[in-house]
Symmetry: D2
Subunit: 377 residues, 4 copies
């Protein structure tokens, strides 16, 4: 099954968060041997991954001395050099400490907000030192102890102030860093600012230096037409800087939903996306499973990518796509406005009854896709 | 209960769609007497409403002759003049006819797309003739018979082409019309382009004449923090042109959820929104109920508005808001970036453990809100 | 791909509702040629289906004269005899007419309730005349115009009264008919009595003749662990009389979610379910697509069934299942209670820390399932 | 506002879980002073609560010596005696330790299952010693590391075996203990066995001693018609042993949804429920807020109960309920089956068109409820 073997050109990435927490699993059970960040890099390199992402505190613990910090960076850099792996993204952890319980950039406490921005500056420094081109901004919690207490307009303003400040900082430091706003393709939870691709895109257009900021959407397993449209909107705006693939389709809590992934992989492929493909995963796996799991994520993605390629090449599928009108949507409807074209259109005669008779035979195409996904063609 | 009586200054509006369809209710039962559009205006005026909205085909049936059209407009204009009511918004109906089953501006069939744009131009003419300042664009259906057939990037491009064309048209005609994109505060269905406030805001920033286009969000009954943040984002961008209040909180299919509405009303009031307050409602009510229902919608809104005012005035609530930090969020965290301020921040010392000790007593504020909503204060 | 060809032994069934409404599609477009019920049977028989289901009014229109009724039944019976097809289920339509807008068996209007029961008796007669062994009860609507008006305890009592009465009727008529309560594996809408498998099972145990009534769950495309557990509970109670397979996984409104279906098909197969496999589908397909669609439904199901068989036979998968502990769950934990076994258990010594060290390597099994579904093994 | 003051007759109860964990809050922040279980009882008694619930390990830590256990029980009993508070329910904690990560009664590991049953026996002993009449069973997790590994039929069988064993144990010990199965009114998560009221009711009817087991549903803040129907079904079966009121309506993460609660309180009141009213709450509150919060929960409930009483007494509301048909639903539709009544019904003549003309004016009733909830009447 060599065609599905991952390699650096596929740009698969994993975060340090994939590692089961040293010394215990998520529920407090003992682990025999913690995995150090540099060991993680060596092993990821071995199985064909391309990048590693980290949060500041996961790589360099808050309590680390300068000597400990230097030692960690030294070992981590050696592992990167030796394997050819890159840092795909750095992040500031602004959620785990209780000080951020009620928000970070949008906390009601001004000192908490200032501390959060300071922590982000230091994390940006760390990322830049290790060659990260991307820095993930914190998800924008609502920042209010009680929704009754404050105005979301103020929270939005504070979040913008923080991002503008950080953009100023990377410019002044001449870092190559760009930022990515984490967001969802749809927003089931509804508990934060900028929850969807759309909200985040709209926010970016209000920044001082919008060119420095893009998106890092989580692509979940349940991808209907709407979320695909959101992904398309991010691609249309050239703001898809990073993609987080929800790795649950690969199992554990529910049945794998691999076929949903097909259309995501196909859209990214059709649009020529060549950024990182990051597998987001909760760290509730034992280390025996870890590499099997990482390999499985990449293998499933390669399989779907190969099916997406066959979709593009298969003559019968191409014919069914054409019958469904897939090509006609690329033709302009009316072109740019001009008084002449408007006048011409206004007197054109249409027969809606006749137009509504057109049949697309979409069931045929859908079945071809089912057959393709299930391996029948 | 005079304080809760609606009047023109409250800008309450209803659409012709509120009228039970002439001759039958939604399930086929007989109605004794259809309500004509002008009668609807007279009666709305009587009970204190300010505006009436319509879809093109609901006011002037597709099959109407020129004489019939003139007669309708004559009677409708007289009703507006006599009552002082205004047309709060016009819409193009691009969903009811089977020709639009697979999309209008984004149909794969180029002729369907052209027909849709022509129909929108005529509806804009009709609205302008009757003094409408706003025109609602059609919701953007995915426009593909099968998601397998086409690319959502193309659908987005076609939708943009249509909106740009229509903006060119109103400019050339020197109409005062602005457009509004219907959208949701959150997007539970996920089956269309531009489904949320965020997606629509981001789309508008890519248009040729973005100043002509704003939002018409549906404000549903289940308004958590995230949707409120979306509403705030629309207000922040000065793009809240119109609001559709889901009238179901007033009952019928489930228990009334009036307390959710409180925070929506409060946010609109805090932000100084002074546009139309349109009650969206399915036409499945008998005419006996119709005016009772319309009065109830306005009365509930006035009650909530009055409670929002009391929230702002009550000293104990103001004190609880202050303790929750509601005022501090207005203070800048760091101000605009400068090398100096960054350097100062980078060496500042914070004590996260001490900062996390702060207590807000939000339960006290929440209980004050419950008491306010339930009428205990 | 002959192994996936459907045949009578697979018990695939479709309802008359699959037929696009004669003379128009769902949005009002014209159809050139309506399909008569008997033609539907002939064609279903041709493509390998086993059963046909109908609602009373779809087979015999309300307005049909006795002669017309006889003619319909004659042609329908001939089609059944000639093809070997059976009537898999009959239903009473208690939703389409406005008289049932606020419920049927649970309407607040006593005459509506009596009319509904009379209509159900006649539909049971019709089904019995055509050999149906199963009759689908109407979904139990809330039965109240406003939730504020009445008590759901009364609605439950009225629904039970109606079902008990109908059971008495089939006994007295010596029909072989059993009833099925429609329900969901999970209940996203929450707008009716007896909405889930669990609620319906509990209700059946309170009937006068519980042995006459079972379940007809809709198996949707999004089947997580919980819904599978509900399906298992119905099988455990020997009450799975009928299954409605939501045919949307086959496409149209969203990407196909065939892999979800895998675990449903596997559970039915493991538990030896041999009842009808009914494909539920909205009638919004043109007739050109109809047979392609029906064939696709059956073909996909056969493919998944074949994969479920391979799951059972593949040695590597069997090994992974064993490592995951799949077989141990069949062993009793403690057996039936006895004072001796309780005493023995109470003094047994367990080491929770050691027990929590066990690793299952579930990622390996999950990847094997992904490979199986995608056709890699 | 004395009418809203809580007292023992209202049977309000809180669990030890309401206490912020000693020494730290949910995110790791320091707490100055942990609250001991007996202090919790004294303070609850002071503010008018009636009962206290606990999990075994929250009252007596796993590592406690016999002397420490005796000391705890002594102090706790004294607090109960001195305040007149009762133990409203005891629970076995079968979720917090990693040994139960993949289920307790349904773990694939037979030793884990046996350990879980042993732990439950000891927790039942502890509850009985302190006078608890109710014992909450653990939620029935799926019990499988991977859904692919096993059959939910086996998990159901193991859960039943455990409950039957525990029922045998309380009988033999002559404890007055009854058991309650935790469940939801609707099941949004879908990740467990017996997730809804319906599933749990159906399960109970398959037990050896069904009379010993009832329900403990969580009544969430979003209560539509369906969940109310589920609550009614539990009441109809006389199986509502306990109610967990989700205390989030009182604020914190979202706006209070007090009006939803109105219909729950009304149904419990209408049906004469007189069991415990337990406020379920996450322990993420600081201790300053704790008593304010507990008082708020009870105060809001008393207010809604008082409004439910006014609903029953108000002549205008009674008139509107009657017009909506709320009383007619209590009348039998057809009575018990008899050949005679069936024959009479079969020849009765109904006029569906006329029946569908009936109008209920439900909007009037809905508005009266809104006015009542908002304090306008």
């Amino acid at each position: 099954m060599n065609a599905f073997e991952p390699g650096p050109l596929h740009k698969f990435a994993f975060g340090l968060r994939t590692i089961p927490p040293a010394g215990r699993d998520s529920l407090g059970g003992e682990y025999p041997e913690p995995i150090e960040p540099w060991e993680f890099v060596y092993q990821l390199g071995d199985i064909g991954a391309w990048g590693v992402a980290f949060r500041d505190d996961d790589l360099v613990p808050v309590a680390a001395s300068t000597a400990e910090r230097d030692d960690i960076l030294d070992k981590f850099t050696k592992a990167l050099d030796s394997t050819g792996m890159v840092v795909s993204m750095a992040r500031t952890d602004l959620s785990d400490h209780p000080v951020f319980e009620h928000g970070a950039f949008t906390s009601v406490d001004r000192d908490v907000r200032r501390y959060a921005i300071q922590k982000a500056m230091r994390a940006v420094d760390l990322g830049a030192e290790l060659g990260a081109q991307l820095h993930d901004l914190p998800a924008a919690g609502e920042g209010l102890e009680s929704i009754a207490a404050g105005c979301p307009l103020d929270a939005l303003e504070r979040y913008r102030e923080a991002v503008d400040f950080l953009c100023g900082y990377v410019r002044e430091q001449r870092y190559p860093t760009r930022f990515a706003v984490p967001c969802e393709l749809h927003a089931p939870h509804g508990d934060s600012l900028l929850s969807t691709v759309g909200h985040a895109l709209a926010f970016i257009s209000t920044l001082d230096q919008p060119e420095l900021v893009g998106l890092d959407p989580v692509v979940t397993q349940r991808t209907d037409a709407g979320p695909l449209a959101g992904l398309a909107q991010a691609l249309d705006a050239s703001k898809l800087f990073h993609v987080e693939l929800d790795a649950h389709p690969n199992g554990h809590h529910g049945p794998p939903r691999v076929s949903d992934g097909f259309f995501v992989v196909k859209l990214l492929q059709d649009a020529g996306y060549d950024g990182p493909l990051h597998f987001a995963v909760d760290p509730d796996h034992d280390s025996a499973d870890l590499w099997e799991f990482a390999l499985g994520c990449m293998r499933t993605h390669r399989t779907l990518a190969s099916k997406a390629q066959r979709f593009a090449d298969d003559p019968e599928i191409r014919d069914a796509v054409a019958q469904c009108g897939g090509l006609e949507l690329r033709e302009p409807s009316v072109g740019a406005f001009s008084p002449e074209s408007a006048r011409a259109l206004s007197i054109e005669c249409f027969d809606p009854a006749a137009l509504s008779q057109r049949r697309y035979r979409s069931q045929r195409l859908d079945q071809l896709v089912v057959d393709l996904v299930l391996g029948l063609r």
